[in-house]
């Protein structure tokens, strides 16, 4: 576990020593503050639209950070050849995969904490209340979803060696899975065979990331899902991420690395 932890700390250090995170944080802050400073019909008590804009920016920023960080990990280790001194130590490739995953996921978590602190200040200033428990649930579910996304990007990175196409593909897959995925079941009913069965199977196979997006519930002041449902969703994400990591390892362990 020491090795996995050591690898993950390098990933975290890398993220916070690059400029991406700060650029996204500043951009999110500026855009939200700009949206907050806008006056619509001289109305200064509007809060839902502001919450929506800020949460959307947080989702986009964390997805960008999660996907781009995970997509470049193994390819950049190969390209910069830092993988060689690392694998020359008593380190298994499974530990590399796990360490990279843990590092990216933890980095996303730290990013989310920073973003949500800003969000909390914003909401607190407008509504004069701070629903900490709701924030925690919202953030936890987003972080859990990012775990699956990071695992997916890592799998992509051992299949496609270039981080750019991998990150783009991951974005498309994640957006498709989130927005179209939940409806594939309904769509499949209206299709002829075998397309119907095929689509229905895809609907079962894809990760259901839409469960983790509680923004609408939070923004519209609805009751957030219960702890049991969140726990089950976390378990599902953990199982899915593990599956993706095992596939990543299975592909990575067979790859020859020539110095």
């Amino acid at each position: 576990m020491n090795t996995v932890w050591a690898i993950s700390t390098v990933v975290i250090k890398e993220l916070y020593r690059r400029k991406d995170f700060y650029v996204l944080l500043v951009l999110t802050t500026l855009l939200t503050l700009a949206a907050g400073s806008m006056s619509f019909f001289n109305e200064n008590t509007i809060v839902r639209a502001l919450k929506e804009i800020c949460l959307l920016l947080i989702w986009i920023s964390s997805l960008i950070i999660g996907i781009t960080t995970a997509a470049r990990q193994i390819p950049s280790e190969k390209e910069n050849r830092t993988i060689f001194p690392l694998l020359a130590k008593p380190v298994t490739r499974w530990q590399v995969v796990l360490g990279k995953f843990l590092g990216c996921w933890l980095a996303c978590g730290i990013t989310l904490i920073v973003f949500y602190v800003f969000f909390g200040i914003l909401v607190g200033a407008r509504e004069h209340t701070l629903p900490v428990a709701a924030f925690a649930k919202l953030m936890w579910m987003q972080w859990v979803a990012l775990g699956v996304v990071v695992a997916l990007a890592l799998l992509g990175s051992v299949v496609l060696s270039a981080p750019g196409p991998n990150a783009t593909l991951c974005f498309i897959v994640v957006l498709g899975v989130t927005f179209v995925g939940p409806h594939l079941g309904k769509v499949s009913v209206g299709l002829t065979e075998p397309a119907g069965t095929l689509l229905y199977s895809i609907y079962f196979l894809i990760p259901h990331l839409e469960w983790y997006d509680l923004r609408d519930i939070f923004i519209n002041d609805q009751i957030l899902p219960g702890n049991a449902a969140c726990f089950m969703a976390t378990f599902y994400a953990a199982a899915y991420a593990t599956l993706l990591l095992v596939l990543t390892w299975a592909r990575f362990r067979r790859q020859n690395l020539n110095t």
Partner: protein, 303 residues
């Protein structure tokens, strides 16, 4: 001879400022010629109409507290049953299945239209219900203002989308202290759509109902009626157009009635009756007015 860097910097700064002062008026003239289109309009081109539609729907989603059928649910419903949405009130234009200007008194059609939560078909859907909004409530207690930003943005994106102005002005008028903003927004809409009978009607209603300015209301409503008759003949025959004509006529009739011009009022009621789905009600008002006219005439003769 060695030039000091300080002097070079000072010289270049002076040169830049001089050039800027020379070029600024020319640039301003050019930008005025280009018109006042905002950055987003230039960037998005015609695609902004799609965004306008999206933001308008967003406002409606807020109104329904997040409860909203997706395009997939709507497609399913369309397959199962053709859902027709009757006008919910006299402000409803009927263009949207779920537009943002609902009253509290929703009719059964609306409730049915929003009822997309059917029996779950599999475990994914059943479990997913924990994370989706299944409650259909409406914004109340002044929280309707939460919709306004999206309507404002929708209008920015597509100034020709008349529904945005009418919807926003309706909600602004609901709060009495926002009548001024509602009027401003409708005037903005009219600047962008000068021939819109809907906007003229909405503005006339505002003058009549919220500002009690009968003269202005009459003028604007009359313009609305003229605008309606100036429509191309093919766009006069649909239900929306007929409904609008009825509302303009009835409102004009009320304005005239309140001003004591009963003959004019009867004329407009007669017009309204020809297009109204409930002509009996209008006929009753005409009869009442005729009665009043008769009484007035009798009183005048006695005098």
């Amino acid at each position: 001879m060695h030039a000091s860097p300080k002097w070079i910097v000072a010289l270049l700064a002076t040169l830049s400022v001089s050039l800027a002062t020379l070029l600024a008026p020319t640039a301003q003239q050019r930008s005025e010629k280009r018109g006042t289109d905002g950055f987003l309009k230039i960037m998005l081109g015609d695609g902004r109409r799609l965004f306008a539609k999206h933001f308008f729907t967003k406002a409606d989603i807020y109104f329904h507290s997040g409860y909203y059928p997706s395009i997939f649910d709507q497609a399913n419903q369309a397959n199962q049953k053709a859902i027709t949405h009757a006008d919910e009130d006299d402000h409803h234009d009927g263009k949207e299945d779920h537009d943002a200007h609902h009253h509290e008194d929703h009719d059964a059609d609306h409730e049915e239209g929003m009822d997309f939560v059917k029996e779950p078909r599999d475990w994914i859907e059943r479990f997913g219900r924990n994370f989706t909004i299944n409650q259909h409530t409406h914004l109340a207690e002044g929280k309707q203002r939460e919709m306004l930003p999206w309507l404002r943005i929708a209008a920015e994106m597509d100034p020709q989308m008349v529904t945005t102005y009418t919807t926003a002005s309706y909600w602004l008028r609901k709060e009495k202290n926002r009548v001024g903003e509602a009027r401003q927004f409708l005037l903005e809409g009219l600047r962008n759509n000068p021939k819109s009978d809907e906007l003229l009607f909405e503005l006339g209603s505002l003058y009549y109902n919220d500002m009690a300015d009968t003269n202005r209301a009459r003028n604007v409503m009359t313009s609305a009626l003229s605008a309606w008759f100036a429509r191309p003949s093919q766009s006069k025959t649909n239900n929306e157009a007929i409904s609008l004509l009825g509302r303009i006529a009835v409102n004009l009739a009320r304005i005239e009635r309140d001003s004591g011009n009963y003959v004019e009022a009867i004329r407009y009621f007669e017009l309204g009756k020809t297009v109204s789905p409930t002509p009996e009600g209008i006929q009753a008002q005409i009869d009442q007015l005729r009665q009043n006219t008769f009484s007035n005439d009798v009183q005048n003769i006695r005098k």
